[in-house]
Amino acid sequence: MKKPPRLEEIRRDIRVSPSIYSRRLAEKYGYLPYMVERYISILGVDETVKLLEAFEKPLKPVVRCNDLLIDCRELADRLEALGFKLREISWSSGSYRVVEAPRSPSIGATHEYLKGYYYVHRDAASLIPGILLTHGYSGDILDACAAPGGKATHMAQLIHGRGRVIANDLVLYRLKALIGHVMRMKLDNVIVLWSDARKLPDLIDERYDRVLLDVPCSGEGTIMFDPGRKTRTTIRDLAVIVRREIELLNAGLEMLSEDGILAYVTCSIAPEENEYVVHRVMMDRGDVEIVEPPLKLFNWSSWLTTYRRHVFPEEFKKCIRIWPHRHGMIGFTTCLLRQRG
């Protein structure tokens, strides 16, 4: 296993000195100045303001129908009869944005929910990796950081009858929720493991054709749900998170079989947690290439090829970046990687 880089080295690489203008804008919206400085260097001032405004607006949840238990049209009718107004997501069949909700019940407490007829996602973006990883695929999938189980249960549905999901996580109370969702949705193709994903290459002899690595991240794309994230992660904290993400990505790649595909996923728009992490691992290993997504679900943005003093590979244009102000979703990224034989 590759040794992770030293924290000082990461800190040096990701250091940001905010300008006076960034500081003013950060103060106005309540952010740490380094965050806004980054947004301006990526998006320019006007688009940064649009991004900050988008983070001020709450997003409506998304219902993903469990078509193994119910016809999705029937589910939509039943929820609409309860007073929910749904809008179908064009690129994910059986998924609906809840655009209006009654005072009671909440979308996560209906009888239909308890019967396992659907899963509630905070946003549609989290549907993307499962669709891409399972497209035309039969076989087992390792979900290395799986709890609370939105993506694991989605993939278990998508490959039902063709494979199993090995869903691993380290945090026990989140695993409890994951097992609850698996039972509630009556899924019979999920194995749940309790391990540190960084140790999986030593703990499991099997290798997988598909690995989902939704790493524990700063959550910088989910500020609309948790405004505390505007100030929670200092640049020093970010370096610690980045180092762990590098360790996790190395471990995830070790779990791949020859020609297997790994989806590296974060709900952070920070280039440090995405482009920097993947570039760093690619440079260190020399055996990783980017894979073009098998589907273009909608007009998403691509990863950055330059950021401040960093120059990233041109093939990063194949990776997916969702911006709240452009796509009306959380900030989210997905990049498909393959380990060359």
């Binding site: 407490a109 308890l114 019967k115 695993l175 009556k186 309790w194 524990p216 929670r232």
Partner: protein, 176 residues
């Protein structure tokens, strides 16, 4: 997946392993004698359990997956409540789909709502009873014939009601 906010500390006492012979035998006997179904067609022993604090479920595998810790595998078979074992809704529904209702009560809207909040079922909520009723019975929602939990018939002042053993509302109250 965002890192959880700091300051949330939840203590969980975890237990897992092979389901004991006595409990396995009781689950087999219930399915064979009360539901009239051959349990070997549903699962093969050994069965496994996993407990988060005092909430225990029965399923098809815990222990080791290579050298990693496995907590759950491939299908919910039952629950352990107060040292008794009861099948999961999946098991009941599979049997009812093939053989029709046994050891079941069909419940109307008000009863379903109350039951899913963890309450008992009163006689006026029961639309129909399918014997045998002398041990755990599946509680079935009349609207779609889905099993929403298990109850136990209890005599009280000359009439019967059904005491809630477990219900799907536990996915909010316990497993959420």
């Amino acid at each position: 997946m965002p890192i959880e906010a700091e300051g949330i500390v939840m203590r969980i006492r975890l237990k897992y392993g092979v389901l004991g012979r006595g409990r396995t035998r009781r689950l087999y006997m219930y399915i064979r004698d009360k539901l009239g179904y051959n349990p070997d067609e549903l699962f093969k022993p050994p069965l496994y359990y996993t407990c988060f604090n005092d909430k225990c479920i029965i399923h098809k595998g815990s222990g080791k997956y290579f050298r990693a810790t496995k907590l759950y595998e491939d299908g919910w078979i039952g629950v352990i409540m107060d040292k008794h074992v009861y099948p999961s809704p999946i098991i009941y529904e599979r049997i009812y789909h093939e053989r029709g209702f046994r050891a079941a009560i069909i419940v109307g809207d008000r009863g379903v709502r109350a039951f899913l909040y963890g309450n008992d079922i009163l006689p006026e909520s029961i639309i129909r009873e399918y014997p045998p009723l002398d041990s755990g019975v599946a509680v079935v929602d009349h609207s779609d014939h889905r099993v929403i939990g298990v109850a136990l018939r209890v005599k009280h002042e000359g009439s019967y009601y059904y005491r809630n053993i477990y219900d799907l509302g536990m996915f909010l109250r316990v497993w959420g």
